[in-house]
């Protein structure tokens, strides 16, 4: 199959990449662009480890074709920390020990950031339903939910 040329913007940087027509956006990010922070847990949209933002919308990158990234804006875990250090959500995941093995963590952080940008003051139930598409097998979710709650509090009234 002939490769497809894709021009896209990833974490604010314009990028060009050649993709196979059947490559997922996840494949394109990981293998085409070397952005391996986005993880594959299932490749069927069931685990959320591959969560990225596509034109401001939270998606499973395994369910999007790489070719569909043409002209789009993509934000991945690699773009969450800006030049000034960790994002509050990243910092809270560390402080709350909200990760054990860490494989689901990039997806959770991308998804939690999307939540707080949409709803800065979510209650526990809202957090739990928003993150229901992200599987974590290590933590039992307790510390993840607390980290997101704490991040929301800190973003609302910075220390």
């Amino acid at each position: 199959m002939a490769k497809v040329h894709v021009s896209t913007t990833v974490n604010g940087q314009p990028m060009d990449v050649l993709v196979e027509p059947n490559d997922s956006l996840l494949d394109t990010l990981r293998d085409g662009l070397g952005l391996t922070g986005t993880k594959e847990g299932c490749a069927t949209g069931d685990c959320g480890a591959c969560s990225v933002m596509l034109d401001g919308r939270l998606v499973c990158s395994c369910l999007v074709l790489g070719a569909e990234a043409e002209g789009k804006t993509i934000d991945t875990i690699e773009g969450v920390a800006d030049g000034d250090g960790l994002h509050v959500i990243q910092q809270k995941f560390l402080e709350h020990a909200a990760l054990q093995c860490g494989i689901c963590t990039p997806g959770f952080i991308v998804a939690a950031k999307a939540l707080l940008e949409k709803n800065p003051n979510p209650d526990e139930t809202t957090i739990r339903y928003w993150l229901a598409g992200n599987l974590c097998r290590c933590t039992g979710y307790d510390k993840i939910v607390r980290a997101v709650q704490d991040a929301a509090d800190e973003l609302a009234s910075p220390a």
Binding site: E20, N22, R30, D31, G34, L35, T36, G37, T38, K39, E40, G41, C42, A43, T44, D46, C47, A49, T76, I77, E78, V80, A81, L86, Q90, F93, L94, E95, H96, A97, L99, Q100, C101, G102, I103, C104, T105, P106, I109, E124, T125, I127, R128, Y129, L131, A132, G133, N134, L135, C136, R137, C138, T139, G140, Y141, D142, K143, I144, V145
Partner: protein, 738 residues
């Protein structure tokens, strides 16, 4: 042993040293490595649950453009059962059993090439349950397998029978005022780690291989891969990546020897990554079980006799965790009369792998349900009944040894007064209690401590960090050396970079590798005292180590300033060379771990759905090094146990094909399914560890199965013996009972 009041670092909750890498996406997991010239390997899997392999023809695949190598069973000549599981030889023993493999320029070409491999099968009857496997005239999974190796008996699907017995069981039941018994089934379940198995291998013209993979034990990957390929361990270097969950499922190998062989044939590095479907079909699961439990007691609750008859599915090769199931089933109780009999049963399902406290959740589900029924018949509080019979220091465990100090009684007493227990369940909800146990293991570990010129400390050890163990190592080093946690980092070395270390599993890492780290720190302290003595022209026994610095002992007349680790490191070249501490050990006395769990559930009588409204875990950690990660183990294990109790199961069709090989249909708990998981850490120090550590990782998965069953029993007013308590089963039981 250090007293709790003296501890400065241990018991604090600092950020883990590998944390920033993991929240930014920098950390490299199994599938994240790419090498120049790398090929992609894929596995062809059996479409039959049980079939004789008459021939494998690789030529069609090899003729394809872009395919550089192909292998079949004969290319994995060694390894015994393990090698036969890695690639099937004469028989495919489960649907998804690996039969052949290819390496190609791309994963896509490799997938296409699998279609060009021709395998001729003679299809045999699948054997999909314990009942089928042990029935008279059952189809044999392995025609040359005899129970306990006794060839005077006919071949059987029962690989082994284990027995523990004490006292006079018949008399014990005769003495009982109340007897309860039941039969309980637990389904096949998967560890469900989010990271699929992945490895990359390369081998050079000298026959030296390097393997990068996600594993719980790089040294086990080395020896297993060497065995499968009839190579020496010294021919293989294994470099562990970060590991995206394992729970026991990454203590074995599937891909590594295949990748090495494909690399040998192609002359190129070969990367192999499983799909989620392959993970479900061909790796991991733990045993489905059939367990019978019987308990008799006096009116006052004193247990007079107990028996457990346990049968565990091993999958296609002998080796179900029925031994640990037997060890655990009655461990919480101080009993005079008991009989435990365990059966290791072959079926045509994937070869089972360890899963968190392997074997204990299933047998203890049966017994803890029976104990709950006993409490109901006796009209006793379930915690009081357990307190009445609780094993304690000095109790001889059913599997032989006498317990040293253990924390079961302390956990039960803490539970009894816990506000979550003293407050009754809400209207319409049911509450269930159960006890959990894991014996824990020690085994071999090595550690090296290196001191940089500025006094910074590097720990090099061999236990892959699956849940924050680097932080625990750094805390124990900080405590021992008397320096700040922030000055220490911990690294997990590859098989050439660090001393031998047994796998991360059995809740041994913080205990055993931690002990090696502590001893290596003590080695550093001894060296620092020598360097200070040399500098000060004192005898070494005139020097103390306190708060991270060398000082003259009280009463020693020396007008000198204390020397910090950094001071000594800076001048190490003048006092004997770099500071390098080391320790290696085979850790003894891991210290048994006990827990008490209770949960409140609500059952929707129209749909059969069970909602977990509250869950509390109380567990003895001996000493919590990093309490957040101890709580994390308790919470994560609880939710795995709740998932197994409520929804998780392998569903097979009549041909032995798994019908739910994906996370959509094999439903692990998601965030919105769960409440907060409350924890209380009890600390009854383990006398065998310098800081009192007991492993904490396994035990949390054990009690939730029975606690959930008992809670649903409480909510419904009748018992459902089998798991999972999924909506269809619960609804059918409600219909039957109303």
């Amino acid at each position: 042993m250090a007293e709790a009041v003296d501890l400065k670092a241990i018991g604090t909750r600092p950020v883990r040293p590998d944390g920033v890498e993991k929240v930014t996406g920098r950390a490299n997991f199994g599938a994240d490595l790419n090498l120049p010239g790398m090929l992609h390997g894929k596995i062809l899997r059996s479409p039959h649950a049980h079939a004789r392999i008459k021939s494998v023809d690789l030529s069609g695949a090899l003729a394809m453009d872009g395919v550089l190598a192909a292998v079949s069973g004969k290319d994995i000549p060694g390894g015994g059962d393990l090698g036969d599981n890695v690639l099937a030889k004469d028989k495919a023993l489960y649907h998804g059993h690996a039969v052949a493999a290819v390496a190609a320029r791309s994963a896509y070409i490799a997938e296409l090439a699998l279609d060009e491999i021709k395998v001729e099968y003679e299809v045999l009857n699948p054997v999909m349950s314990i009942d089928d496997a042990i029935a008279d005239g059952a189809t044999l999974v392995n025609e040359s397998l005899h129970t306990n190796g006794d060839t005077s008996q006919p071949a059987s699907n029962i690989a082994a029978i284990t027995k523990f017995e004490r006292g006079d069981v018949d008399q014990g039941f005769a003495d009982a005022d109340v007897v309860v018994e039941g039969e309980y089934r637990v389904p096949t379940a998967h560890q469900g780690y989010i990271e699929p198995h992945a490895c990359t291998a390369t081998i050079n013209e000298e026959g030296k291989a390097t393997v990068w993979c996600c594993t719980q034990g790089q040294f086990d990957v080395r020896s297993m891969t060497a065995n499968c390929l009839n190579k020496q361990v010294s021919d293989i270097r294994v470099i562990p990546s970060e590991i995206g969950g394992g729970f026991g499922g990454k203590t074995t190998i599937y891909l590594e020897p295949v990748a090495v062989k494909l690399s040998e044939i192609s002359g190129r590095p070969v990367k192999m990554v499983m799909s989620r479907e392959e993970v479900f079909r061909a790796t991991g699961p733990t045993s489905a079980t059939l367990c019978r439990a019987k308990v008799g007691a006096k009116k006052d609750g004193t247990i007079t006799a107990a028996t457990a008859w346990l049968a565990y599915e091993a999958g296609a090769f002998a080796g179900a965790p029925v031994g640990p199931g037997c060890m655990s089933v009655l461990a919480p109780y101080d009993l005079e009369n008991f009989r435990i009999e365990g059966h290791d049963v072959l079926v045509t399902k994937p070869k089972v792998a360890a899963y968190r406290a392997p074997g204990a959740p299933q047998s203890m589900h049966a017994m803890e349900c029976a104990i709950d029924e006993l409490a109901r018949k006796l009209d006793m509080d379930p915690i009081d009944l357990r307190l009445k019979n609780a094993a304690d220091e000095g109790t001889v465990a059913p599997y032989g040894p006498q317990f040293p100090a253990i924390g079961l009684r302390a956990c039960l007493e803490a539970a009894k007064v816990h506000p979550n227990y003293t407050t009754p369940p809400a209207e319409g909800q049911g509450r269930g209690v159960a006890v959990g146990f894991w014996f824990n293991i020690g085994m071999q570990s090595s550690a090296e401590i290196r001191i940089a010129e500025n006094g910074a400390v590097t720990i090099m050890e061999g236990s892959p960090d699956i849940g924050g163990s680097r932080a625990s190592m750094c805390l124990m080093a900080a405590e021992t050396l008397g320096i700040p946690y922030e000055n220490i980092n911990a690294h997990v070395g590859d098989t050439e970079a660090t001393g031998y270390c047994n796998t991360t599993g059995g809740s041994r890492t913080t205990f055993a590798t931690g002990m090696a780290v502590i001893e290596a720190c003590e080695d550093i302290i001894a060296q620092c005292k020598e360097r200070a003595a040399l500098t000060w022209e004192l005898d070494v026994d005139q020097v103390d180590w306190e708060d991270g610095q060398a000082i003259p002992k009280p009463g020693v007349n020396a007008d000198v300033k204390p020397l910090s680790l950094a001071d000594i490191a800076r001048s190490a070249g003048r006092t004997g060379g770099p500071l390098l501490g080391r320790a290696s050990l085979n850790a003894q006395g891991p210290g048994a771990s006990f827990s008490v769990n209770w949960t409140d559930v609500e059952v929707d009588r129209e749909t059969g759905k069970v909602d977990v409204k509250a869950f509390t875990g109380v567990q003895d950690a001996g000493r919590a090094i990093h309490p957040s990660y101890v709580e994390g183990q308790m919470q994560g294990g609880a939710v795995q146990g709740l998932g197994w109790a409520l929804n998780e199961e392998y569903i097979y069709d009549a041909d032995g094909v798994m019908e739910n090989a994906g996370f959509l249909d094999y439903r692990v708990p998601v965030t919105s399914d769960m409440p907060m998981i409350d924890t209380q850490i009890v600390e009854v120090p383990n006398p065998s560890h310098p800081y009192g550590v007991r492993g904490v990782g396994e035990t949390p998965i054990v009690a939730p199965l029975a606690a959930t069953s008992n809670a649903v029993r409480d909510a419904l007013g009748f018992r459902i013996n089998d798991l999972p308590l999924s909506p269809p089963r619960v609804l059918a039981a409600i219909d039957e009972n109303e």
